[in-house]
């Protein structure tokens, strides 16, 4: 049975929603190319993705992931989803002040042979900093 590109992405998102990082990564090829624009990871790899997902799961133990739209355009699938949670550990340099985060994101996936071969992740880091009470982006760790 073949899996649609959309189903592969939904399986990935289910893994992230459950904070099952291994489950999410099982949908991703070993040689996947990963770009996370807000963290300035350009043409990174699966290890960069693993680090990001692990950080999300660790920093937001009450993580709530809500998908608003999924669009499938051939091998490309775009998922728009909101990440919400209460910060419980430092995240992307922002010191834990137990703030609530809600951030809208869009991830562009390329799926080949039922597995994700590329990801480009978009969100506004300024919005993320604002919610986590960071005042200046050149002094993220100063509150």
């Amino acid at each position: 049975m073949t899996t649609s590109s959309r189903q592969t992405v939904e399986a990935f998102l289910t893994g992230l929603r459950l904070r099952d990082i291994g489950g999410a990564l099982s949908c991703v090829r070993d040689d996947a190319v990963v770009t996370v624009f807000p963290t300035r990871v350009i043409d990174g790899g699966r290890a960069d993705l693993a680090d990001l997902l692990t950080d999300i799961a660790r920093a937001f133990p009450d993580l709530l992931l809500t998908v608003s739209h999924i669009v499938e355009v051939g091998q490309v699938v775009v998922a728009e989803f909101k990440l919400e949670g209460t910060q419980a550990a430092d995240f992307l340099g922002a010191i834990n002040q137990e703030k609530h985060l809600d951030i809208d994101t869009a991830w562009r996936f390329t799926v080949v042979d039922d597995r994700i071969s590329a990801i480009e992740a978009y969100w506004c880091q300024n919005q993320l900093y604002r919610r986590l009470a960071v005042k200046r982006q050149d002094h993220v760790t100063i509150v």
């Binding site: 807000p38 051939g74 490309v76 869009a106 978009y122 506004c124 300024n126 982006q137």
Partner: protein, 157 residues
């Protein structure tokens, strides 16, 4: 022999959106608007201005919020441009565009004072083209921290 060339809805949708980015590159807000339905939905998700008593967001309609934001951007960045890297569509009329929006700041944009700085920031647009060949939905994502950093503005608010 007569050859009949058929055009799929996906091809049409991609063509319309390609034209949209062409006229955007030409900074022709009227032409951009004319490619959209009268009631086209508009949501620039990262756009939010936190004032003392309310938050102004970039959500609404093209003919209200969209035109104002586009015109404001072109005023602040007179050479506003875009470089499209990927454009993908389907037969439901969905089109996804990965591009850079670029420009050099010549006047104030929000809280950012002009320093003649250039920015090029990756954007993702998720658009929909209806069966009449008009765009009826535009949503966009990007990182304002990246834009602000390139413009020399480091304060979050």
């Amino acid at each position: 022999m007569t050859t009949i060339q058929t055009t799929t809805r996906a091809q049409t949708a991609v063509s319309i959106v390609t034209e949209f980015f062409d006229v955007y590159r030409a900074r022709d807000v009227v032409a951009m608007t004319e490619l959209c339905t009268d009631n086209c939905d508009f949501d620039y998700i990262p756009f939010e201005v936190w004032a003392k008593q309310r938050v102004v967001r970039g959500a609404g309609k093209v003919r209200t919020n969209g035109r104002v934001i586009w015109s404001g951007l072109i005023n602040a960045f007179p050479n506003l441009g875009n470089d499209v890297f990927h454009i993908d569509g389907n037969d439901d009329g969905d089109v996804v565009v990965a591009c850079d929006i670029t420009g050099t700041q010549q006047s104030a944009w929000g809280f950012i004072s002009p320093k003649n700085q250039y920015f090029a920031e990756p954007h993702l647009f998720i658009m929909h083209v209806n069966e009449d060949g008009l765009i009826d939905s535009i949503r966009a994502y990007w990182d304002n921290a990246g834009v602000n950093r390139q413009l020399g503005h480091f304060e979050v608010d």
